[in-house]
Every structure is written in C-alpha cells, then in structure tokens.
Amino acid sequence: MIWPVDLIIMVLVMICGIGAIMVRDLLGAGILFGAYSFMMCLLWAIMGAVDVAFTEASVGAGVSTVFLVAAVFRTSRRTKD
C-alpha cells in the first residue's frame, strides 16, 4: 500500500461523492457516480479485496452508470430542487 496513492484516491472519492450530490445536471451526477464507483474499486483493489473490486468495477462503474443514463434519458435532465 502506497500511502500518497491511497490519499489521492480517497480525496477523489470524496470529491466525486460530494459532486454527485451537489451538481444540478442529473446526467453529470450519474457520470460522477460512475467515477466515484471506479475510485472505490481502486480503493478495494489497494486493500487487497480483488473480488469486491472486480464487482464494483463491473456493477458500480459499468452497468449502473448505463442504467442511470438510461433513466435520465427517459425522465428529465434537471433537478427540481
């Protein structure tokens, strides 16, 4: 475990997580959520949980981003609040 890499990824996870909540554009929020999942996947891999990292990469960063984009495509792109 290399601590600067760990720290950078941790900060990126926080930025992506807060950004996904704050951003007004729902498509952007979905893509930020995908980036968040990918950073979490890197964290799992650093911690040695390779199976969890694999699941996170395929489910979190891959398919669920597609689902979010599809849902935004069929509803509205702007939040009401």
Binding site: D51, V66, V69
Partner: protein, 276 residues
C-alpha cells in the same frame, strides 16, 4: 427543510467519525472477524473444495445459502422493475422514422400512413437518435464477441482468479447492452427478446436452487455439493469444486438476464419500442 437535513447529516457524520477509531485496525489478525471462522476457511478451503480462490469457496460453498438468496434478490429486482415500468398497451407513436438503406434518405411516416414493415430496403430508426453511425456500429460489432468471451472466462475461471457468476454475468449483460446501445433496441430484441431474458433469469435461480435440492435428494444437506460426486463421476472434494461451477453458471445466467431486462425496461420507459 434543507437546513434540518444538513444538521442531521452533520450529526450522523460526526458520530461516524467519533466511532471510527474504535474499529479494529485494517488487516488486524486479532480483530473479532478474523478470529472466529476465517482461520478455518483459510486453512481448509483448498483441501475441502479444491478451490484456490478462498473467496469463491466461501461465497458459493460455505455460504452458498446466502448467495442463493442474493441471486433471488437480483431476480426480484428485475421482476419489480418489470412490474413498475412495463407498459403492455400497444400505443403507437404518432410518427415513425424509416431510413432508406441504399440512399440514406429518412422518411417520416405520419400516423395512419402505410408502414414499410418487413421491407429489406427500409430500416426503422429511433425518433430521438437519427444520425447513422457506421463507425460506432462496426466497432461495437467487433468488441462485443470479445467482451462475451471474457465474461465466460470470468465465470469459468472464478475458482482460480477473482471473478465468478456475478461479475461474469454483469459483463455478459453489459455486452448485450452495448449491442443495444450501438445499434437499436429492436435489433437487440432479435438477439435476446424480453421473454427469453425473463426465462433465463428464472432459469438461473432455478439452476441454483435445483442444485441444492439435488443434494437434498441424494441424502445430504441443502447445497452440500459433495453428495453430487456419483452424478459427476468424481470424488467428494472435486464434486464440491464442480458444484461451485454449476452454481456460478446459474448466478451468471440470472444476473445477465436481469441486467438486460432492466436495461430494456429503463431505456424504453417500459414501452420496448424505442431505446437509448
């Protein structure tokens, strides 16, 4: 209301940070989670099941009952999405777009007009995504078989490397979703239609539960794969390894079909007419 929510979140977050130092250190061998059953799995997984990847052995053999219901949860998620979104009423859109394949001219056919269904020269296109992307279609056609092959590898090689039914199933579903995005939804239906996807998801769960039931019928406990040794022509240890593979195939089938079915319902808002 927003202020109240902010206060609540700050308080819960503060409590979380307050509680974090009491957690055992990362990778601590003296932590409660590492003392109870983990040493048994680490020491006996290979000799019990002949599976080098302990995660797979725990997931599909020692804790097989959990994984069966995880698969059932995914199956019910697919069914719930179907019930919430699917619209069976045939509500034709007011206008439909068709492209003449040879010249690239797009026809807009108003409601009540004669539709060139079944004609080889005309191809129906989505009303929201008109441009013709040859590069995307050809590239995805090249990529999809390799993604599917990798998914099968992930399922089959889950005994020895990270992977297994969930990951492989998701990757296989993603390949079909890629095909549906790069072409259109109707073309993907020709490869894997809604009914086949639903049947496959149910069949995956049935394969898992059926394996467990088979062990029960052969005189063992539910999901005790060593009882399958006579059916698979191996000894009891290898039977557990093969049993894990059968179960992983069931998980992969169910997950793949549910992912595809979720995508069909979400991207077409339940109409199964025009997709992403």
């Amino acid at each position: 209301m927003r202020f109240l929510a902010l206060i609540t979140i700050l308080m819960v977050g503060g409590l979380l940070f307050y509680g974090t130092p009491d957690f055992p250190a990362w990778g601590d061998p003296e932590s409660p989670a590492s003392l109870h059953v983990s040493p048994y799995y680490i020491e006996h997984a290979v000799e019990d099941t002949a599976v080098p990847n302990i995660v797979t052995a725990v997931l599909a053999d020692y804790r097989g009952y959990d994984t069966m219901f995880e698969t059932a949860v995914i199956f019910s998620a697919g069914i719930a999405c179907l019930f919430l979104l699917r619209i069976y009423r045939r509500k034709s859109t007011t206008t439909r777009l068709y492209r003449h394949n040879l010249t690239g001219i797009t026809l807009r056919i108003a409601k009540g007009g004669k539709l060139p269904e079944g004609s080889a020269e005309f191809e129906r296109i989505d009303s929201l995504w008109v441009p013709y992307d040859m590069i995307i279609k050809v590239t995805s056609r090249l990529v999809v078989p390799f993604v599917q092959l990798f998914a099968l590898y992930v399922i089959a090689h889950g005994h020895h490397s990270p992977g297994g039914g969930f990951q492989g199933g998701v990757i296989f579903g993603a390949a079909i979703i890629l095909y549906a995005i790069s072409n259109d939804l109707r073309r993907a239906f020709r490869r894997l239609n809604e009914k086949a996807a639903l049947l496959a998801s149910a069949a995956g769960v049935l394969l898992y539960a059926g394996t467990g039931l088979m062990c029960l019928l052969l005189g063992g406990n539910f999901l005790d794969y060593s009882k399958l040794a006579d059916l698979l022509y191996t000894d009891a240890i290898m039977a557990r390894s093969h049993g894990i593979l059968i179960v992983e195939i069931g998980v992969g089938l169910a997950v793949m079909a549910v992912m595809v079915s979720l995508y069909y319902n979400l991207s077409s808002a339940g109409r199964h007419d025009e997709g992403l």
